[in-house]
């Protein structure tokens, strides 16, 4: 969290110093905006856990793309937004293998095969803008939506025991939520750039048909999304 805070502060300083504009730029911006951003999606909590513990996700930091539209009220303080985003987080195959090696120690040789997590989200929500200082505003946002998750295919093979685990890839469409903060700097009356930090969460559940009695499980997906983006006012 300290790293995230430092990044936000530094990037704010860069944005502000690189784009000195008059205070009047934002006063005349339109009530609608289109935005697009790209950045990193970093897992946290159990989703990032990489030991054989309950609900451990073994997820690694991946990429995140986000885009959407915003509509502000007459006073341009409160607004609503509709977003769509995509994220890919690799599976921590190295740690997954290490855990099996730890468990089976000298029994055979382990090999694992993994894919990554994908999710495609759509959400709507509210946002609040603060007053502008040096053409830069803080925007708080929170929303809910539905996300389509794809659980990765996983396989673990031991040369002595054979296939010890297989989890086939599976899809789930699940309720999700996010909340975040955005630092937006208006370049002129029609465009701006921003840095956003967003927490995203959901609990998709999947089927493990390879285990006894078609075991169902859930993965508590928790990511921190740090993006840099572009806004077009219209």
């Amino acid at each position: 969290m300290n790293i995230s805070r430092t990044i936000v502060i530094l990037l704010t300083a860069v944005l502000v110093s690189a784009c000195p504009k008059s205070l009047s730029a934002q006063d005349s911006i339109q009530r609608n905006a289109f935005h697009f951003s790209a950045g990193a999606a970093a897992p946290y909590d159990e989703f990032a856990a990489s030991t054989f513990t309950y609900r451990a996700g073994f997820a690694l930091t991946g990429i995140n793309l986000d885009g959407g539209v915003i509509h502000y009220g007459r006073r341009k303080i409160l607004g609503v937004y509709a977003d769509a985003g995509y994220a890919f987080l690799p599976f921590n195959e190295k740690r997954y293998l290490a855990e099996y090696d730890r468990i089976f120690e000298d029994v055979g040789t382990m090999s694992v095969s993994t894919e990554g997590y994908h999710y495609l989200r759509a959400e709507v929500g509210f946002l609040i803008r603060t007053i502008a200082i040096l053409d830069t505003r803080i925007i708080l946002q929170a929303g809910v939506g539905y996300t389509l998750f794809r659980h990765p295919y996983l396989s673990a093979i031991n040369t002595y025991w054979g296939i010890v685990n297989t989890v086939n890839s599976d899809l789930d469409f699940q309720l999700s939520g996010s909340a975040g903060i955005r630092l937006e700097h208006a370049l002129d009356e029609s465009a701006g750039i921003y840095l956003s930090y967003q927490l995203f969460a959901s609990k998709p559940d999947f089927s493990d048909t390879e285990s006894y009695r078609d075991h169902r499980f859930y993965v508590p997906v928790r990511t921190q999304q740090i993006n840099i983006g572009f806004t077009r006012y219209f």
């Binding site: 969290m1 010890v164 989890v167 939520g177 996010s178 169902r216």
Partner: protein, 382 residues
């Protein structure tokens, strides 16, 4: 940021992103660990050994009956019983057994002021697939058998009685001597063997490990059921036991009459099993699914009594193989018992045995270890 996260988590709770499902499994089916583990919860500072196979095994619970001199302050061995629950976790891949002291009424009925050793319990379920059995067999089908040995008549002899599914002796059926097997010498550790169709197949252990995966679920259950039916269709029981009637302890077999239980057969064909017996002492045979485990202090072991196994195939037993240093030590390993675990729940079986190796609670202790279903042990360092 921390405040933001807390607000967000409250927000999520309000959203009610619920799910009551469990965690992703890291094992499709459970594995009994290869490390020899002291059965601490059932052991005492006295001698605890000579366990029996389970009275029943239901999913992850099984009964355990064994001999101990704990109740008499080492004066004599009595049978004690426990109810055991296997606790395996396919997420963090752990394995544990929780025993619960459980006195079967029949155990109390069998114990005496003399020694009771080598319990062997059958769980006889003869279904509708046995229409050709003679009436006597049919009338006894709902009563299971309890064999054990005792020195209540002076020397160690084999006894048997019948018990009901509830674990109590059948009224009026007190333990009686298995007179057609007993002599003035020592006899004990009886177990039964019914030749199955799978006996005709090789059990060389050359199957790939991946085949174990295919033997999961319903398919495996059906396979096991078929094997059981075939076992009873052979209509002849053979028992194996230990005797020192030829000078040292050897393993003997006694084949019963067709369509009769071995203990009610009028004549028994008793023979020393040459392939399994040696010039040393060979004791405590125990058979599950054409695999015999026994103890012997013959040459080729790790020292003292060691555990050995042999596989029945094509009508004969294979040359005994030592379980190796993964299980055997320079101390005594005694009375091995195979606990066959459900193939749709466990990759392997469990071997329970007793040993006086250091590190236990004192005297002989019971130990358990994972054992490969292929006829080899998981602890031999393959």
């Amino acid at each position: 940021m921390q405040t933001l996260k807390q607000i967000f988590l409250i927000f999520l709770a309000l959203l009610g992103t619920q799910s009551c499902h469990e965690s992703r499994l890291n094992l499709d089916i459970a594995i009994v660990p290869r490390e020899v583990t002291n059965f601490t919860e059932v052991n005492s500072s006295y001698d605890d050994y000579n366990s029996a196979g389970p009275l029943y095994f239901a999913g992850d619970a099984f009964s355990l009956v064994f001999s101990s001199n704990r109740n008499s302050n080492r004066a004599d061995f009595d049978l004690v019983s426990y109810q055991c629950y296997i606790n395996y976790d396919q997420v963090n891949i752990s394995f544990d057994i929780w025993p619960d002291s459980w006195e079967y009424p029949m155990v109390d009925s069998v114990n005496s002021t003399h020694n009771e050793w080598g319990p062997y319990l059958t769980f006889d379920i003869l279904g509708s697939h046995t229409p050709d059995y003679d009436p006597e067999w049919e009338t006894l089908h709902d009563t299971s058998r309890f064999f054990f040995s005792s020195d209540r008549a002076g020397n160690q002899d084999i006894y048997y009685c019948y018990y009901s599914p509830g674990g109590a002796l059948i009224p009026g059926q007190w333990p009686v001597s298995f007179s057609s097997l007993n002599t003035e010498f020592e006899e004990g550790y009886l177990c039964l063997h019914q030749e199955t169709a799978t006996s005709q197949e090789t059990a060389t252990g050359q199957e790939t490990a991946t085949s174990q995966k295919a033997a999961t679920g319903q398919e495996a259950a059906t396979k096991q059921e078929s094997a059981t039916k075939l076992a009873y269709s052979s209509n002849r029981e053979t028992c194996y036991f230990t005797s020192d009637r030829n000078g040292n302890f050897d393993i003997y077999s006694a084949a019963g009459e067709v369509n009769r239980r071995v203990e009610t057969s009028g004549t028994l064909q008793v023979a020393r099993v040459e392939l399994l017996s040696s010039a040393a002492d060979d004791k405590c045979p125990y058979i599950v699914n054409d695999m015999m485990v026994f103890t012997s202090d013959r040459e080729g072991g790790q020292g003292g009594f060691d555990l050995w196994y042999s596989v029945y195939s094509n009508g004969t037993w294979s040359a005994p193989e030592n379980f190796g240093p993964g299980i055997n030590t320079e101390y005594d390993e005694y009375r091995p018992v195979i606990i066959p675990l459900q193939p749709d729940l466990f990759v392997n079986d469990m071997l329970i045995f007793s040993s006086n190796r250091p590190g236990g609670k004192g005297g002989f202790d019971l130990y358990y270890v994972g054992m490969d279903k292929r006829g080899t042990t998981a602890a031999t360092g393959l």
